[in-house]
Structures are given as C-alpha cells and as structure tokens.
C-alpha cells in the first residue's frame, strides 16, 4: 500500500461546495479514475481518504490537500492525469506526491493557514491600514460572538501575521492573514466582521472575496504539506 498526497485548488463554481459535498465529489472522481483505491472493510466499503481542515462555503482554496491510500505505486504524472480528467469544473490537481511510510497525515501536517481577502473598494489603503493596526496591536479588547452557539473569541488570539497591499490602479486593497488553527482562534467571518466596522465600512463578510492561499506548518519557519520551506507570503 502506498499513500499519496494530492494538492488541488478549489475555485470558480466549486468554491461553493461544502466540505461534505467536496468529499463526495472527490470520492466519486477517484472511483471513476480507475486508480487502485484501498477500501475499508464492511458492508459499505469506502476508499481511505483524509482531508485538510475544511474551507468555508464560498471561500476559494489555491493549495488544498487530500491524502489517499492506493493499493500499488504508480507514476505520478499518470495518477495526476487519471484523476484530473474526472474532476468537475473548479477543482484542479496541482501536484501529487508519494508520502514516505509512517509520514504524518495531512491533519497533523498543518497548523496555520494563509488567507487573502479582497477588501471592499470603498476605503483608502490608509484607512484600512489604521483599522488593521488596531485589529492587530490595539489595546482595547476585541471579541467575536459566534451566532450558532454564542461562544466568545478574542479576535487577536489566532492572528499570527498580516499584510496590507494596494493593488492595481484603483483604490483596491488586499489583506493577507496568517491564522493559526486552534480552538481559541476566531472564525474568519468573525475576524472580517470585526475589521469592517473598524474601517467604518458597512459591508458584511463575503466568502467569495476570500481565498485560502496556502496551508502551512509553523514551527520556527514555515513548511508546506509537500515538505517545502516557505517564506512568509511566499506562494
């Protein structure tokens, strides 16, 4: 048995799939691909797959990961092509990597994510910068209350890094955030909904303006799930 890690992107119409819908889509694509899947035992055998932490519905992901067990090794290019042909629009294979035996699963390989937000265009970059400074290093407490269960989050606690960039000739700004995974980290929606009023912007969280650029492991430096060292904000 050989374990493979698949890097893929989830964009376009596919960004609107929930995690469960994505899982079923991948399972069927793998079943169609003819790759030698390893099935669980029992009456309802299913292929052995593991996914990285789920993306919010509507959020795009450029480098997402999925581990799959295959019964036999295969040439990487062939595997990529077989699966790639079976994916619906918006899902695309980036690369495939054979994992060494005993390699930790994808769930244990990542502990932070880099998100990129296209900020609403109505504010200048300076206004956004002030708002972000307050979001990151202000002294006033900033809390987000999750509507479904009322849980309170300190919005600053999971924010590991951020960067504001002005893009294009227009006054549109892009915000990069490095966010730790963890119980205490506020959901992305909470971070954005805290930030917008700080910039005196009336808009609400729009998942379609968000892209998860990368999933990373931070421990001193940054390493992606393919084992490559990365600088902060390096694609």
């Amino acid at each position: 048995m050989v374990e493979y890690r698949i890097e893929y992107s989830k964009t376009g119409r596919a960004r609107w799939l929930s995690h469960l819908e994505l899982v079923r889509t991948f399972t069927r694509a793998l079943r169609r691909s003819g790759l030698p899947l390893v099935f669980s035992r029992g009456f309802n055998p299913h292929p052995r797959l593991s996914y990285c932490p789920s993306l919010g519905v509507g959020v795009a992901g450029l480098r997402e990961y999925l581990d799959v067990d295959l019964a036999a090794a295969m040439p990487l290019s062939e595997g990529m092509a077989s699966l790639g042909r079976q994916l619906p629009p918006g899902l695309e294979i980036g690369c495939l990597m054979e994992l060494p035996p005993e390699a930790p699963g994808i769930g244990k390989t990542v502990n932070c994510a880099w998100y990129r937000l296209a900020l609403p265009p109505e504010q200048t970059v300076d206004t956004w910068q002030q708002a972000i400074d307050r979001l990151v290093c202000g002294s006033d407490p900033l809390y987000y209350k999750r509507p479904k269960d009322g849980k309170l989050f300190d919005v600053r606690s999971g924010l590991a890094a951020c960067r504001l960039t002005e893009v294009g000739g227009k006054m549109s700004s892009v915000l990069d955030l490095l966010v730790d995974f963890g119980e205490a980290t506020a959901p992305l929606r909470g971070i954005v909904e805290t930030l917008l009023p700080l910039a005196e912007t009336a808009g609400s969280y729009e998942p379609a303006r968000v892209t998860r650029m990368a999933l990373l492991h931070q421990n001193g430096g940054l390493v992606n799930p393919l084992g490559e060292r990365k600088q902060l904000w390096e694609t």
Binding site: W16, R24, R31, F43
Partner: protein
C-alpha cells in the same frame, strides 16, 4: 448572469451547491450554435429532482441531439425565492445561469400533485405570464408531462401543451416543430417568435400524437358541478389524446452518464431501469395502469448500461429501478453477472422496494453492499379479504416467511407499509393490521431466538387516482381517517412497534387535485397568491391557506376528494386516453367490491385491460414466466 452577481446571490443561500450547474456529466452546450433551447423544470427542490430518472432520461436524450440543448431548473428554495424577489432577478437555469425566458420552451415534469403551486411560482419567477391565454408570441412555450399529466386538468390554463405518456419519442417531435417554427422565422438561432404566431405553433404541436393543447378544448359543466362534456374547438382534433409509449426499451435512449449531484440528493445511486410497466394490477395504483404493458430490458443491455453507469458516475450503489424489480423474469441471468461487474469497483446493488415473500428477501440478501439495517415490505392491508379487494397478491404466510427470511439474512429492523381508508375497509381490517403486526413480531422473535425484532409501521391514507379501478371511489372524510389512524396507532404501539402516518390533510388535498377538473386552476392560483409553496413538505404546508383558496374560488374540496363517482358520469380526465379500456376498469372495480382477485398477465393469462390492442404492442418479457 455575471459571475460576480451569481457569487453575490450564492453567498446568501443555505445550500449554494443546488444552483451551481457544474456537476459531473452536466452538459454545457454552445448556446448560439443550438437551434432549440429547452429548460427542464422540476417543481421541487434539487435534492428531490436529481433523484428522478425521468429528468436524467430526457436531459440525456435532448442533449445527445446536436440541434437541441436542455438545461435544468429546480424549484427555488424559499431563501433563493426571497433573494430573487428582493433583487427583481429572474429565475435562471443551472448550466448557463440564463433567465428562463431566454429559452424557447420550459417543460415541467409532473410527479406529484402537491408541486402544482411551485409550477405557478416558477412561471412567475421566470417573468412569464401565468396563464397560457395571457402569453404573447414573444413568450416562450410552457409544456408539461409526466405521470400526473394523466389528469392534467387542474393545470390546464397555465400550460400551453401537455405531452401525455412517455417522452422518449414525443419530446423530440415537439422540439422538431419548434425548430421549424424558428427556421421559418429566417434567422437561425433567433428566439422563438417572429413568423409563426403562438396559435399556429400550438396548431402544429396538436398534430403530434400524445400532445394535448388544453386551450383547444372547452369543458361544459352540469349544474351540480360535474363535467357535462368536452368540446374540441377545432374540427381536426380527436375527442381525446392518447398517451405515447416506447414499445421496445432495448432501442430506447437510456442515460448511462447521468448528472451526478453536487448537493446531496435524496437518492444518490446509479439507476438501472430493468423494466417499465407493472401488471400486478393493484387496483389503487396509478403507475400500474398508466405504464402498461410490461417491457423488460434484455439482460445484456442492462449489463452494458450498468458498466457504463459505474464507470461514468463513480456511484457507490446501483439500484434496479422499476415498479417491482423482483418481478424481472431473468433475475437468474442478470444478478450474478451484475454482481461480478460490481466487485472490482466495490459497487453495491440495491432494490428500491421488495416484494413481500421469502424469495425476494433471499435475493436481496445476496446482493453486494446491502446494508442490513432496515427492510421495507408493503402488505398494504391487514386482512386477506381487503388484500383481495385491492388485488395485492400477498398472503399472511408470505409476510411471515419474508420476516423469518429477513431475520435469517441479518436484518434487525422491518418497516411495514399499510394504507388506511381503502374501499370497503371495516374496523375488522384495521384490527387485522394489528394482528398481522403481532404475528410478524412473533415470527421475527422466534426466528431471532427470542430476541425482539424492531418493527416500524407506516400508514398512508388511500387517495383515489385517475385511470385506476378505484377512480370512482371517494376518499374517506378527514375526521374518519383521523380516527382510523389514531385507532391503529394505539393498536400498533400497544404491541411495541412504532407508528408513523402520512399527514391526512396533505392526502386530502392530493385527492382533490388528483381528481380535479379545470376549475381547480383558480384554487391553485389563489393558493399560490396566498403564498403556498412546497405543499408536499410538512414544514411548508399550510392547509388553512388552501381552505381559503377553495372558498375564494367557490369550490368544495370534498366534492373532488370524497365523492363517489358514478360509472355514467363524464370524468375530468376523460380527455386523456391511457389505452386502458374503460370496461376493464369498471370490471376491475366490480371485482374489487366482490373481493375477487385478478391475475398478473406475466403469468400468461390476458385479463383484457386493452393496452396491447390499443397500441399494437405486446408485453415484452425476456424469459417465459416462471
């Protein structure tokens, strides 16, 4: 719709995956290079519609044709409807996200009477005038078909043309007429309009066998509200419209690359249609009458189709669909080979329903991937007398053997289906259900070595349907049905089984619409105007609004649902000829009242329902009867 606007819209929805249109096997054709564009409308949620074989058949069939394209649209969930109305946006198709009014025709499938308000709502959201008579030459054509078109009358004013019966041959003929209409307009690719007036188009369509144009007929009523007569308003029209059927399913188109849903559907499995039509002759069953005769597919055809479905969908299960799949005459030839085909891909094989006997349970046990959780059996009635009345050829011994076989095969829970309020039903028949449940429990317990088997009992209320031997029978008053269900619930619960019943008001409304005439269109309009949608969904159904709507239209639902009709009255659905002799239905009704069973024509004897001579066809069995 622009990508940005679509994203903005989707971001407000609970399940955006319902509206993406980017499913595996979805067909995205070049709009400008296709002569005729049709939107297939399923008047219920995506998850219901995507489980439906008819949609997949017609979608595949039309899109296989280079001159035609078909896109899908489902009833918008309340959240999407609210967004569309708030933003003044038109209802759109899934594949290209174009407004429905850009298509040449919009075709609804009629599977259930309680989707009718959704049809009105979808027409309205599309920005098309609700009534056929209000539409101009510039508006697209609205057509409908499917089993409920066996009595299309309540929808008559809203639909330009109905296609009666199986659509495999009829729909391409309709599309061909539309292509002619557009070609004569000069510019290829132009929208339907121009030189052919709406009237001329409808006249041409009326010439296609199986097409029914309601506006070409008038209905006259007696003072007491019963239909007096129908008048064909043009000399060339027949007095009634005969349904279409595909004589040989081996030649018929079948979708082996069905669209694989993105949002989770009610049933997610590859569908293998082993045969069409059922001749068991259950007297309450409309499908058993209107899909005659039995036409089986050859096992080689089925095995090829199964292989393709598995390869092209990646489904975890494949289901043998039909009205009674275990009646397929060559199960021995089909199942082992199908099982072999499914081994490598670990595909399970399932059956949507089981016949009540130990043979069926034995077959189900051998299928790969069977979940040994709950087995469903439908004896329908509690006493042999009543089972003979409804012609459900099942005995108590059959049921008890099936239960024992199920236990032996490892099932730990059994669901039993019954119908309450069947013609001639007495208290003894209800008590009979209680007895039967207790006997089944005992049979289950002894087969499990004293361990209890979990039973759950589901009961619906009898709904009389057009073109069945019970079409003349009334539904019991609601009060009486409520008492019967309450009595049964206590009886069943006292023996430790669960009891579920289908909402009585829903069944009452279903009966009123199922036997309705054209005047009910006003009730539908009033109900839609008052906000009725998704009436088949308990959480959306609002009976008070329906009662108001009947009152507003000056009609009594009881007149339609509860009245016993006489043999000599004109029925609202007499315009539709499904090929069954009226005399056969009368004979079957009389035999029912006398408690006399009628044999299945699979077994060799012809009971003279009239379908085969009507169509010049014969039942097609791949193997002589067992």
């Amino acid at each position: 719709m622009e990508q940005h606007d679509l994203d903005e819209l989707l971001s407000h929805l609970e399940k955006p995956a319902r509206y993406l249109g980017s499913e595996w096997n979805a067909v995205h054709k070049d709009w400008d290079r296709t002569a005729v564009r049709m939107a297939f409308a399923f008047p219920d949620l995506y998850e219901v519609g995507m489980s439906h074989l008819g949609l997949q058949i017609l979608y595949g069939l039309v899109n296989a044709h280079s001159d035609y394209l078909m896109e899908r649209v489902f009833a918008p969930a309340p959240d999407l409807e609210a967004e569309l109305r708030r933003g003044g946006l038109p209802l759109f198709s899934l594949e290209s996200h174009r407004p429905l009014r850009d298509f040449d025709l919009l075709g609804f499938t009629l599977q259930y009477e309680l989707t009718f308000t959704n049809i009105l709502n979808m027409i309205d959201l599309a920005g098309i005038p609700l009534q056929s008579c209000e539409r101009s030459d510039a508006d697209l054509l609205v057509i409908a078909g499917g089993p409920v078109a066996a009595n299309p009358e309540p929808l008559a004013p809203f639909i330009d043309a109905f296609v009666i019966g199986e659509g495999e041959d009829a729909l391409p003929e309709v599309l061909s007429v539309i292509r002619q209409a557009k070609e004569s307009a000069g510019a290829p690719g132009a929208r339907l309009r121009a030189r052919w007036s709406r009237r001329r188009l409808l006249e041409k369509l009326a010439g296609i066998p199986g097409v029914y144009i309601p506006s070409f007929y008038s209905v006259e009523y007696n003072k007491d509200g019963r239909v007096q007569s129908f008048t064909a308003l043009r000399p060339e029209l027949q007095s009634c419209v005969r349904r279409r059927l595909a004589p040989d399913l081996n030649d018929a188109f079948f979708p082996t690359a069905p669209v694989v849903p993105l949002a989770e559907a009610v049933h997610e499995r590859g569908m293998l249609e082993v045969f069409r039509g059922c001749t068991r002759g259950c007297r309450f069953c409309q499908a058993g009458m209107i899909y005659r005769p039995v036409r089986e597919r050859d096992p080689r055809t089925l095995l090829r189709q199964a292989r393709e479905i598995i390869d092209k969908t990646g489904y975890e299960d494949i289901s043998l669909v039909s009205l009674s799949s275990l009646d397929y005459s060559d199960l021995d030839g089909l199942l082992p080979a199908l099982g072999d085909q499914c081994t490598l891909s670990r595909t399970g094989i399932s059956l949507p329903s089981l016949r009540v006997d130990s043979f069926s349970v034995g077959v189900a046990q051998k299928l790969p991937g069977g979940r040994r959780t709950s087995l469903t059996l439908a004896p329908e009635a509690g006493t042999q007398r009543l089972r003979d009345v409804i012609n459900k050829g099942v005995t108590e011994a059959d049921l008890l053997e099936a239960v024992a076989a199920a236990v032996a095969a490892g099932w730990s829970a059994i669901k039993l289906y019954f119908m309450v309020g069947l013609p001639t039903e007495t208290q003894a028949d209800l008590e009979g259900i209680g007895d039967l449940v207790r006997k089944a429990q005992r049979a289950g317990r002894s087969a499990r070595g004293g361990k209890k088997l979990r039973f759950s009992i589901s009961a619906s209320s009898f709904v009389p349907k057009a073109h069945t031997p019970f079409q003349w029978e009334g539904q019991l008053p609601r009060q009486q049905l409520t008492e019967s269900h309450a009595f049964l619930r206590d009886l069943v619960k006292s023996s430790g089984a669960d009891y579920h019943w289908h909402d009585i008001k829903t069944s009452f409304l279903e009966a009123s619409l199922a036997r309705g005439d054209r005047r009910l269109a006003e009730v539908l309009f009033e109900a839609w105007r008052r906000g009725c949608r998704f009436d088949g969904w308990t959480e959306h159904f609002n009976f008070d609004l329906w009662q108001d709507s009947f009152r507003a239209a000056g009609l009594d639902p009881e007149f339609y649902a509860g009245r016993r009709l006489s043999y000599d009255e004109v029925l609202p659905w007499d315009l539709i000829d499904v090929g069954i002799d009226r005399e056969f239905l009368v004979r079957e009704h009389r035999r029912a009242l006398a408690g006399v069973a009628t044999a299945d024509c699979r077994l060799g004897s012809c009971e003279g329902c009239g379908v085969c001579p009507s169509f010049g066809v014969e039942p097609r069995l791949v193997k002589a009867s067992r």
